[in-house]
């Protein structure tokens, strides 16, 4: 395959192999013999996109259809973008190296709000008009999915339709419908109308929004007779029979996560009140151990990877976790394949397991207490007590670990000065725990790194009505933690406040945010999640130029009766449940997890998973 970018340009950019494909297990098809061409776009660089499990699954899922060719597209890094613009080269796919403007579908996966300017930039680089209403029959259909699509409104004006939920459920029907419509000579318009038959497809142009004088939504109504009032996400009910690729793309260059990824289950039983993933992916649906062992074997064989990573929101909650871990260890010990276990709870079993898989190399252990005091942990329903944290650390220390990372959030609802100081206090107690061990058991000084991120209220969480802390409040709190720290074995870091503020605006944004995104992109914003490229001043200018007040979205407390921009979408969990959870948070009451007791959140409506165990 001849590269779209000539050699003399590729030689002048960083990591040219980002753009040349040819990975192991790349799907090769003859585009001439294909009915549907689908560009799967990841709005970030190659190394990030190639580490995303959803891309790997959907890539093979779509390509298993003979009539469809799904190709990958990544955001070119700024150096190549400049060369492309100078030489009038439009955005191309990795597989065939052809311009994506000629494709049938251009699909973006939305994993993070701060990649939205990249979505716009990629459309522009592709030569596709940004706004849906400016596009013609000759342009591809623009579709978005992924976890951020649950609040589609900020991108509504740019996108033809949003796919809400898990891709395996509806894409076959959608593509069949598309092919038939094309065969019958139907227009794009006609196809979009046909999409209204699906529960989980949102076509923004068939809905009208009006606003009150104070900026709140006055009404959100369908303007097409077939458009549903409420759309409902699509979920896979049987994780054992659902398609899972036997292969993975094996990149030829180093990427962020370069390993076999085994998805244990979807959803999370915990219901931490700040966590969007904990609600939008409900209910928990597990795979059987047999299924997983079979998939692991096949994936290792076809990829040649030296590491398997177990992926899920909370790995230790997998019901047959010991059986799975031991099964994998047994299978792969002789093959020099290692196990990596992110998001484990620290208990005796997991430490013993880590002991087994890591031999002597003891990397740091990570805990996520999220809040500094038990009171605030109850508010956010983080079912982790101080005793459990200290016990876990003591276990780890006696097992030879000397480095601990702690994740906290600042700016959580109801937070007091005591809670903020609690971050430092809890961290110092962990340091002290280390020195409770006899001297001969302490090979070196302990290193504790506490880091705090800024809380961003997200849609579909009990805190979706809450005001985010202001810039100054965040800074003040971070300083307060810093001041409280006395021990030199403890380091404290805090995340960028500016980026969290913008994330807060976009995450709960409505359609009016579109013009801000557009203006920010015009001003040159892109790769906002990349520290060195983030241009806060330009974003502020974009708000000013468009007359949109960012504080209205980030720092305003909403009433329960306000129409929220995502109210026409249902993730199964009801608004009543979220309100009840918010009230319980105020009373510092915890909610049991899904396996302890059903709290009737509403996710039972999908007819599967933990709700029926």
């Amino acid at each position: 395959m001849k590269n779209c970018i000539p050699d003399e340009l590729l030689l002048q950019v960083e990591k040219p192999a980002r753009y040349t494909g040819n990975e192991v297990n790349m799907v090769i098809k003859d585009p001439e013999k294909i009915d549907i061409r689908f560009a799967f776009c990841f709005p970030d660089v190659y190394e990030v996109g190639m580490s995303h499990l959803g891309l790997q699954i959907l890539y093979y899922f779509l390509n298993r259809r003979e009539d469809t060719y799904c190709e990958r597209v990544f955001a070119p890094w700024v150096d190549l973008e400049q060369k492309m613009r100078e030489n009038q080269i439009s955005l191309f796919s990795i597989e065939t190296q052809q311009p994506i403007k000629q494709f049938d579908f251009v699909g973006f996966t939305l994993q993070y709000e701060m990649c939205y300017t990249n979505v716009l930039n990629m459309l522009d680089l592709a030569g596709i008009p940004l706004f849906a209403e400016q596009r013609t029959e000759n342009d591809p259909l623009i579709v978005c999915g992924g976890s951020c699509a649950y609040n589609p409104e900020p991108l509504a004006e740019f996108v033809d339709f949003f796919y809400l939920g898990e891709g395996e459920v509806l894409y076959d029907e959608i593509l069949d419908l598309y092919r038939q419509n094309k065969k019958e000579g139907g227009t794009k318009q006609q196809f979009l109308e046909k999409l209204l038959q699906f529960d989980s497809i949102y076509v923004p142009k068939y809905y009208d929004v009006s606003y009150k004088e104070n900026g709140e939504i006055a009404s959100f109504t369908p303007n097409h007779k077939n458009a549903r009032k409420i759309l409902k996400k699509a979920v896979v009910t049987d994780m054992d029979s659902v398609y899972y690729p036997e292969k993975q793309l094996v990149p030829l260059i180093d990427v962020v996560h370069d390993r076999v990824t085994l998805e244990l289950f979807r959803g999370c039983i915990r219901g931490c009140r700040f966590c969007q993933a904990g609600f939008v992916y409900r209910p928990v649906r597990e795979k059987k151990v047999d299924t997983l062992l079979k998939q692991a074997k096949e994936l290792v064989k076809t990829s040649g990877h030296e590491e398997i990573s177990l992926i899920s929101l909370s790995t230790s909650d997998f019901t047959c976790f010991p059986e799975l871990a031991n099964g994998l260890l047994e299978e792969f010990a002789k093959q020099e394949v290692s196990l990596s276990l992110p998001s484990l709870r620290i208990d005796a079993f997991s430490l013993e397991l880590m002991e087994k898989i890591q031999e002597v190399r003891k990397s740091s252990l990570t805990f996520a207490p999220e809040a500094g005091t038990q009171r605030l942990r109850n508010v956010i329903n983080k079912n982790l007590t101080e005793e459990e944290i200290l016990q876990g650390c003591a276990l780890a220390f006696s097992g030879g670990w000397t480095r601990v990372k702690l994740y906290f959030m600042i700016g959580l609802p109801t937070e007091t000065e005591q809670d903020v100081k609690g971050i430092a206090e809890l961290s110092e107690k962990i340091v002290e725990k280390y020195y409770e061990m006899p001297k001969e058991k302490r090979p070196r000084p302990v290193q504790v790194v506490a880091s705090s991120s800024c809380f961003v209220p997200k849609p579909f969480t009990p805190f979706q009505w809450d005001a985010q802390n202001t810039f100054d409040e965040f800074l003040e709190k971070a300083k307060m933690v810093k001041k409280q720290i006395t021990k030199k074995q403890l380091k404290y870091q805090y995340h960028d406040v500016k980026l969290s503020f913008l994330e807060g605006v976009v995450a709960r944004g409505d359609r009016k945010i579109a013009k801000v995104l557009y203006r920010a992109w015009q001003l040159g914003c892109k790769f906002d999640a990349w520290n060195d490229l983030f241009q806060y001043d330009k974003w502020m200018q974009a708000f000013e130029d468009t007359g949109v007040d960012p504080a209205f979205y980030a720092n305003r407390k909403r009433n329960y009766d306000e129409i929220l921009p995502w109210d026409h979408i249902s993730v199964g969990v009801s608004k009543q449940f979220l309100m009840a959870e918010r009230e319980k948070a105020a009373r510092e009451e915890v909610t049991p997890n899904c396996r302890q007791k059903c709290s009737h959140c509403g996710a039972k409506c999908f007819g599967g998973g933990v709700c029926y165990e």
């Binding site: 003399e8 340009l9 040219p16 040349t20 040819n22 030829l252 040649g304 190399r361």
Partner: protein, 258 residues
């Protein structure tokens, strides 16, 4: 020195392995592999090539040998790294296997699973005492593709090479140094695509083709456009009794029946 069992001066018979506390070291078999790095993979780096082979070996299920210790890794070593963007049909690596298998088996099995652009051309079980692939190198042959040099003649080359010295500015990380590269140029020939080069290479003396072509452009008064010249490595050579031969020549066997 690459040797098939233990280092020189280490006689296996001196150790009594029946004693407690000793495990007999495993015998390893070293294969020298010659492979291509084609258009499709010319932008991946040296470490990427190494990782790519590690995974291909796993997929091919070859009995590769692992290092001892807590972080076992495959015992592979590769010769002279290639500059990003340069293609080659003469790359080499030494692969250690824990079992003695047919050299051609390695070649056929790897070729079933390697990505496009990488193809094993030769596989030899090392039976002679020889240096590692990296340490063996004395020279490298290249083709240099250049539109501007289409009209240059053998006469130009002759004049260029008959200079008393050929000085170029060699840039290192810290400073710049003027060096005479003439002794490291073994041969330059005119071919239809451009030029063919035969240059010193390896750990003792190493000359990349770019400084040569740049100084030749300068000599002819042509403007040198760094990114418009393409390079292709034909082979890596080692000296055997004063003669230069390919790295996989004269070091072992291509079939266990030999």
């Amino acid at each position: 020195m690459v040797q098939n069992v233990l280092g020189e001066g280490f006689a296996m018979s001196e150790i009594d392995y029946s004693q407690k506390g000793f495990t007999k070291p495993k015998e390893h078999f070293i294969y020298r592999i010659k492979f291509t790095k084609g258009e499709e993979v010319k932008f991946i780096g040296h470490l990427d090539v190494m990782r790519l082979f590690q995974r291909a070996i796993k997929r091919a299920n070859l009995p590769v040998a692992y290092s001892q210790g807590f972080n076992p890794h495959q015992l592979l070593s590769f010769a002279n790294p290639l500059t990003l963007g340069t293609t080659s049909e003469g790359e080499y690596g030494d692969f250690e296997m824990a079992e003695k298998i047919e050299p051609t088996f390695i070649m056929t099995e790897l070729n079933k699973t390697l990505p496009k652009g990488i193809k094993v051309l030769d596989s030899v079980l090392i039976t002679q005492k020889t240096d590692s692939a990296m340490a063996s190198i004395d020279g490298a042959k290249y083709i240099v593709f250049s539109k501007e040099l289409k009209d240059s003649s053998q006469e130009d080359i002759k004049r260029y090479l008959s200079q008393k010295e050929i000085l170029v500015l060699k840039k290192t990380k810290k400073n710049e140094k003027i060096t005479d590269i003439k002794p490291d140029i073994f041969e330059i020939k005119k071919i239809p695509e451009g030029l063919s080069f035969y240059l010193a290479a390896g750990s003792r003396r190493n000359l990349k083709p770019e400084p040569v072509i740049q100084s030749f452009y300068n000599f002819l008064g042509l403007h040198f456009e760094k990114y418009c010249v393409r390079y292709h490595r034909l082979d890596l050579m080692r000296t055997e009794q004063g003669k230069l031969v390919g790295l996989s020549e004269g070091i072992g066997i291509r079939s266990l029946k030999e």
